[in-house]
Symmetry: C2
Subunit: 227 residues, 2 copies
DNA sequence: GATGATTTGTGCGTATGTATG
DNA sequence: GCATACATACGCACAAATCAT
């Protein structure tokens, strides 16, 4: 096994890209916060060049925005943005699940089913929210991965990044976890019965409900979030 | 009309991004060509910093790729890539047309119809291929725009960029322009009759045929293009 | 093959211009 | 206006890869 992987030294701009992204996900940089390249360069003991390159990538990804005066800030999705993103998710994921219904192997179906069972278990055990969220995301990821379309995966990953903050909000509410699980189950049943159209429709319904739920929660907390 | 647009000076990195992109579209930089930042910096009389930032954006967009040794090259789509991209287009555009069928105003329908008539005229007049290609693309653009979803527009724009080279190839062949026009007509008829599902299906069929046609042409010229 | 020269990418410090208070 | 903070861009230094001898 002469697998001498060439360990390519990761350049600073790439490391910084990941680091800044992580800081946004972890809330160390909040939506609307300014990003000062000088400051970041100082914090990480690097020059501004790699910081700027990292920012250009994040800008293209949509995670940071640059205003008229070239000031960089963390992306703050508007309600319209959220709707647009969900619309795209519906398009991509409904098509994906339709395809997967046709081509998935039985092993792959088992894998999805296992995830649903783990989720059920987690809810029953009153596991902390994070675990359940992760399992829910795994459900979607499995379907997307089974299409074996890497571009689709990338597109959906980027879309989800943009509303990452809301993943916790989305699980708030009475019996919310159970509701989501039931919707996932419905989708899975369609897949298992190899009913592509129904699976597709079930996915759209699921995402529509997700969006409605999110909309409601967000409009309730309008004052704080200033969407 | 006190429209004092603040003329924000466009920074070099942004200009360079557009310029390089244009060079790729115009074939001055061909798929697989190396991009030397030192060279570009010299050519445009700028330093390497803005060139590098432009490259990071293009890299994120997928138009250039960076190999293991950090060498930058123009993206060269593989057959698998083309299929993946078309798959995403099917998902997004079929969903888009479905929505548009439901919400488009009559004026908007007229606009689409007008485009089809212009195309017919252009074919009858044996206009040059470019005109017809532009009109065909306009057909798709109109539908996408009428969804009023800017993110969808951006996603599809980026996708189309990645296979921009093939737009000419796609119109090659016996009666190809007529065939495409007929498929567009079918889609439009569904929209006009407000039959959302049929419109969606017609769009998928259209793109499937496009992909098949492209696949055939590309596999014929396999030797030259090394896909 | 080894080795020196050249090309190229990575990253830094500094200068300049612009906005903000 | 003046001072500060910041983004933009440049030229240089260094290192790694490539090429020629």
């Amino acid at each position: 096994m002469s697998d001498f992987a060439i360990e390519k030294p990761v350049p600073y701009y790439e490391k910084l890209y990941h680091t800044i992204k992580k800081m946004i996900f972890e809330g160390k940089l909040k939506p609307g916060d300014r990003i000062i390249e000088t400051q970041l360069a100082k914090d990480f003991n690097v020059s501004k060049s790699p910081v700027r390159e990292a920012i250009r990538i994040l800008e293209k990804e949509g995670l940071v925005i640059v205003d008229q005066k070239s000031r960089v800030m963390v992306y703050q999705p508007t309600m319209k943005d959220v709707e647009e993103i969900y619309f795209c998710r519906m398009a991509l994921e409904s098509f994906a699940v339709e395809l997967v219904t046709r081509i998935a192997t039985n092993d792959e179906l088992d894998e999805i089913e296992k995830t649903l069972m783990h989720t059920e278990q987690a809810i029953r055990d009153s596991q902390k929210n994070d675990t359940i969220i992760t399992l829910n995301e795994l459900f979607h990821s499995l379907i997307i991965n089974y299409t074996q379309n890497s571009r689709l995966q990338k597109q959906l990953n980027d879309l989800k990044s943009l509303i990452y903050f809301f993943r916790v909000l989305n699980t708030q509410g009475e019996n919310r976890a159970d509701n989501i699980l039931n919707q996932h189950r419905k989708i899975f049943e369609c897949i298992k019965r190899r009913e592509a159209d129904q699976a597709s429709q079930a996915m759209i319904n699921h995402l529509k409900l997700d969006l409605e739920h999110l909309t409601e929660i967000l409009s309730n907390s309008y004052e704080e979030t200033k969407l």
